[in-house]
Amino acid sequence: MRILVIEDEEALRELLGRALKREGHATDLAADGTDGLHYATEYPVDLAIVDLGLPGHGGMEIIRSVRQRGLKYPILVLTARSDWQDKVQALELGADDYVTKPFRIEELMARVNALLRRSAGHAAPEVRFGPLEVNLSSQDVRLEEQLLELTSFEYKVLEYFILHPDQVVSKMELNEHLYDEDADPDSNVIEVIIGRLRKKLDPDSSWQPIETLRGRGYRFRSAEA
């Protein structure tokens, strides 16, 4: 997933970027409110982590602008202010959760994953599609109760499909959401990854979870549907 971090403290910004990458997310990092607002409104963001005390546009202003433009991705507020007035104001403006500094990185990652999951309509971290069972928190993937070994990028693609089931997802969209801004992936990489995923998820081609829609992209079919 593509996660935007808007944080003016360089050390914390870099640290968050590394931690999110370790979790398999693509990241955009903004050091001030002006850049942050630009990324937040112009880039295909799946989740934004916004510090409230920012130079340039403040965090509250960024949240307001994002929601005014009709963008619905989850926003996690990162704040040094622990008073309820600010928390309530941020939530009323359209933030979805907050984490107060200082925080444990595991807690932040858990909140990020929970928000991504909730935004896709999944209440629990365990998601089931026919014979496939994915734990979005531990990133365990099981097919008919057997643990599947997926590479990091294979998991990223599968997770994106699971969070956007029954939707047409183009190759460009996958590139945008799974790669960092400055990455220049080979266009064939996505096809190769999807081919490998199909073999692992459906070795005997019995339920064919990933459809190819010629000229448009792919669609992950929820077997339950």
Binding site: E9, A11, L15, A80, S82, D83, V88, P102
Partner: protein
Amino acid sequence: MAVATASGLPKPESAPGPGAAPSLLLRLLLGGALALAIALGLIGLAVDRGFRGAAESALKERLESVVFLILSTIDVDSQGRPMVADSLAEPRLDQPGSGLNAGALTPYGAWSSPSLVGVTEAPRARLIERGTELFRGPAVDGNWYVYAIGLGWEQPDGEIIDLTIWAAEDPGRFQGTVAGFRGDLWRWLGLAALLVIIAQLVILLLLLRPLRQVAVEVAEIEAGRREALQRSYPRELQPLTANLNALLATERDNARHYRKALADLAHALKTPLAVMRSRLDGDLLREAPALSSAVDDMHHLLRRQLERAARSTRRTLPPPVAVLPFIQRLADSLSRLYAESGLEVEVLGDDEVSARIDGRDLMELCGNLMDNAAKYGAGRMRVTVSEGARGLRQPGVEILVEDNGPGIAPERFGELCARGVRGDERREGQGLGLAIAQELVEAYAGSLELLPSTLGGAAIRIALPPR
């Protein structure tokens, strides 16, 4: 019903305020009226005495002229008896019962005017020493004012005999005159007093009007309807109103700057702490557990002190705020935050209930307790807002926050409020919520109480005292 109060701290009692002193208007009116009564009373007495003296002098002169009238016509016969002409120039002397009498007497006889005929209590006539005169009133001589002179009358044989000529008048006429004057005098003085009091009242109302305007404007500032005194005031009051406005503006600016400085300080200190905290997670945590604990302690301390410092930005005259909208906003926010655990928040109470508390403080106070109820409860929370104890101007407020969690042991409640220890280590949190709420509620002379909850968990009642 078992009730635990936070931390064994003495429950604040509403201290008896100073009783209302009599109004300035009443004091000035009563003082003025008293001074006026004394002054007019003394004036009245002086004028009365002066008039009475003048009237007595006039009476004496009148009686003296009657005596000299008698003297001009008197003669003494050879046996020493006085003789006066039958008809006198003063007709009242010839009319019986006219009230004006005259007479003459020697050691050998006496004469009295015809007006004395039929008078039962005649003036007591007696000889007085030659060359003297006397004037005496009814106090001395029955019911008469009497004037008399003592003379020596030389007889043709050269003998000089004592002769006293007197005149007397009934005091009724004199007293009628004096009483008439006295009645007029006090009536006019009373009217003057009334006019002076009315004038004084009008002047006082005009003088006190600016002060009443100040009171009205201060009440409006208290009610949050204006931020400063804006009407034009007399020159004498302008230093007071200007200073009051400056004080309010300074307080407002200070609170704003102070809050901003605290937010900046929090940001400046907590962000590096966040970096340290994040770096300590993982392998380093196992290698340096003491460092991790120190970072937690620093954060704990920092938050506690920042919360404490933020409370000193409280305004002197916080306007009243409706409580229920704050609770509803918090309930909506918490429902959103705890959506995954299916939190149900029920908010009950009267829309009209308001508290004279800074909005941020109210949000902080209720936010901490409601967040605890959401964290430690088992999915249900009820917040009830009601009027508390009655006050002179505004009743107190009670906010009851209940949950269906495991509850809090009454013996631990005081400890949780006092030291900010975490009640349930299973959940995330800094364990500061109750302690912060306790300090906030104390700043407003209120109290926190732990009660049994009808939902089965903890019920914490915030009581804010009346105004």
